[in-house]
């Protein structure tokens, strides 16, 4: 059995580690490229959303590379994602691929059901080994998230943005190859130190919350690397969703760490008191949460035609007004030209800077400071 799975951000690193811990041979799909997307577009239903198409491309490339088993998350609820594993399986079968598809479902009641599912995936694995494998994979994820946080903090503040980006790519490679917790710690600490040592500039830095559909938030290929682009515009990006959080909420039913979901739902309540499928409610809730934390703006991302995000987008108009937080929505599809996205991001950060400058000026005025006559432009 040679197992593969779809890409989503850096998720392949912990999943690979987990499966190897279960004594499985793993075929990580090649990094997502235009070719991956082209394959997905060719065989997926035209009206399906981007995550299905890219995922399908991942499978085809992995099957070609020798995989014979696909591991995919299932799900339920009004978002189409719950059905994607089945649709993708049918398409691949029609194309004549010989493979087995294992669909991981979140347990209904007991966490042990999930451990059982994972254990069955393994070969001659004791319960203890299964738990060890999960814990090491989790350790890697937490380390990467810590690195990501520092990277997203450093990128907008440093002059040497190329170097900051290189370090991030190196951390991902290093942690992927690490075999022990000690090795993970070493790589992480080295990178943290290197980021801290980069030369800084003294321009003001914006803080922007990235909210929206989980795949588009987590997978840089699908969002045209928005965090990097904003970082280069001196804006620090905070993701509304972390991979650990998503896995904890969706697969482990909140058993691993304390879930933020009740708090986020509370934030959403005045605007959206119920679930609308997908991440609709989380989008609204995390936007409110970012506003409470004093962020300068929020960018909502989603795949084109994503119903829950369309619902959330409409509600964000009211959130933006009442919580005083500018929001911009970007939908992504197969188009590759990034001039349009770049223009919108530049315009958005320009706007945030001016609004921020004006606010500072007003508060200076209230505190008795002098108000400079004209705002500087640009």
């Amino acid at each position: 059995m040679r197992v593969t799975f779809p890409h989503m951000g850096f998720m392949h690193i912990p999943i690979k580690s987990l499966l190897e811990g279960l004594h499985r041979e793993v075929v990580v799909p090649p990094p997502i490229t235009q070719h991956t997307l082209a394959l997905g577009i060719k065989y997926a239903p035209e009206s399906a959303c981007l995550p299905l198409k890219i995922g399908l491309g991942n499978y085809i490339e992995a099957l070609e590379a020798g995989a014979d088993t696909i591991l995919m998350a299932g799900g339920w609820g009004p978002c189409r994602f719950g059905l994607y594993a089945q649709v993708q399986r049918d398409i691949l079968q029609e194309l004549g691929y010989d493979f087995q598809m294992v669909i991981l479902e979140a347990p209904d009641s007991k966490i042990s059901q999930l451990f059982d599912q994972l254990k069955r995936l393994g070969e001659k694995v004791s319960f203890f080994e299964a738990v060890q494998a999960i814990r090491f994979a989790w350790y890697k994820t937490a380390a990467i998230e810590k690195a990501e946080e520092r990277y997203l903090f450093t990128l907008p503040r440093t002059i040497d943005k190329d170097r900051a980006e290189q370090l991030w790519d190196q951390v991902l490679l290093g942690i992927d190859q690490a075999k022990s917790r000690k090795a993970v710690d070493e790589i992480l600490n080295q990178a943290l130190q290197a980021w801290d040592g980069l030369p800084l500039h003294h321009e003001p830095v914006l803080r922007i919350g990235l909210v929206g559909e989980v795949y588009t938030v987590l997978e840089p290929f699908s969002n045209q690397n928005i965090a990097r682009n904003l970082g280069r515009l001196n804006a620090e990006v905070s993701n509304s969703i972390q991979l650990t959080e998503w896995l904890n909420d969706n697969l482990f039913k909140g058993h691993l760490i304390k879930s933020r979901t009740p708090h986020i739902n509370n934030c959403a309540r005045p605007y959206l008191p119920c679930s609308v499928g997908g991440h609709g409610r989380e989008t609204v809730g995390t936007t409110v949460n970012f506003a409470h934390q004093g962020y300068d703006g929020v960018v909502q991302v989603g795949p084109l035609t994503c119903m829950p995000e369309i619902v959330a987008q409409t509600i964000l108009i009211r959130v933006a007004k009442e919580e005083q937080i500018p929001c911009m929505t970007l939908y992504f599809d197969e188009h590759s030209g990034n001039a349009g996205i770049q223009t919108r991001l530049e315009a958005f950060t320009d706007m945030l800077r001016r609004r921020k400058a004006l606010q500072t000026e007003n508060s200076d005025f209230q505190q008795g400071g002098t108000c400079s006559a004209v705002l500087s432009r640009g």
Binding site: Q34, H35, A339, A347, D350
Partner: protein, 328 residues
């Protein structure tokens, strides 16, 4: 006498303006990009040069539009700004009290909400060009009417017909149907204008609070039918500035003027660089990974000025100022 140059290289038109120290437009050039922005930039610059007074010097350059980076490479810009910011700056300069800017260009349309002279909110059309100048262009061509006369003709209408505005294809089939029913041309044209305005307000303007004064700019603002349809739909007067077609360039010029100061000399490359050399663009398929990025490259004679279009930025960052390669 020192002037500031603003250029707006769009998908459909390329605009050039020269403003003086008092931010008044001295001369302007509006020409079609025709899919060849490099040519458009040189041609536009040349014809602007001819209009300029003999003793005039260029003290600063601002570039905007989707081709702003290309303009920067060829002209040497002090400010490279997105279209939202430049249009807002120009609208504020035209009417400092302005609260809403409607801008409809060749392939995109935008709304900018201003409060107290700063951009408060904005939106651009997303994936479809149904409500933009290209669509009007195409329909005018189909009906055999010069695009310049479309607005005038529609003003004669007393009873505009209803045309679906959501999609260019739907609109076209609706128009054909109404023509076949025998409606007068002016009513159909006004119907088209109203459909475009409805589309704009429902998509681009969705959820935005449109307050007077409203300034309407961009190439489509020349169309008096569209302007009338906006006024009817909004119930507000809509002002169209005299230089509505080059507002982006004006904004870029104003920003450029603010950016250069005694301590910051201009990056303008000078007439010789722009007008004498032979500029060429080439594209190459990078074989570095399966992305197979199409990398564009611009050269002046044999010197490579810039690469762009690669996802990993390998090519883009390969030309640090010190090491500019020479292609043999």
């Amino acid at each position: 006498m020192q002037y500031f140059l603003g250029v707006d290289i769009g998908s459909v038109s390329s605009n050039f303006v020269l403003i003086d120290q008092q931010q008044q437009v001295v001369s302007k050039v509006y020409l079609r990009t025709n899919g060849n922005p490099v040519n458009a930039i040189r041609e536009g610059f040349q014809s602007l040069r001819r209009q300029m007074p003999e003793d005039a010097g260029i003290a600063a350059v601002g570039a905007t539009g989707s081709g702003r980076h290309l303009a920067d490479i060829i002209l040497g810009a002090d400010v490279v700004k997105n279209e939202i910011t430049t249009h807002a700056v120009a609208a504020c300069h035209y009417d400092p009290a302005c609260q809403t800017v409607i801008e409809i260009g060749g392939q995109d349309s935008k709304i900018i909400i201003l409060r107290d002279g700063i951009v408060y909110d904005f939106a651009m059309n997303t994936v479809c060009a149904a409500g933009t100048g290209s669509f009007l262009d195409q329909q005018a061509a189909r009906l055999g009417i010069a695009i310049e006369n479309l607005g005038e003709q529609s003003l004669a209408s007393s009873r505009p017909v209803r045309i679906a505005g959501r999609c260019g294809v739907f609109a076209e089939s609706d128009m054909i149907h109404k023509q076949q029913m025998g409606y007068p041309m002016s009513d159909i044209l006004m119907g088209l204008c109203e459909a475009m305005v409805r589309n704009y307000l429902n998509n681009v303007g969705k959820g935005k609070k449109i307050l007077a004064p409203v300034v309407f700019q961009g190439g489509v603002a020349a169309n008096r039918g569209i302007r009338k349809a906006f006024e009817k739909s909004l119930g507000l007067p809509v002002a169209v500035p005299e230089n509505h077609d080059v507002m982006g360039a004006i904004g870029a010029a104003i920003l450029a003027g603010e950016a250069v100061s005694a301590s910051q000399p201009t990056r303008f490359r000078g007439d010789g660089f722009i007008l004498e050399g032979d500029f060429k663009t080439r594209s190459l398929d990078c074989q570095g990974c399966p992305n197979l990025c199409e990398v564009a490259c611009i050269m002046r004679d044999r010197k490579i000025l810039s690469y762009w279009g690669d996802r990993c930025r390998k090519w883009e960052t390969s030309l640090k100022p010190a090491a500019q390669a020479v292609v043999v």
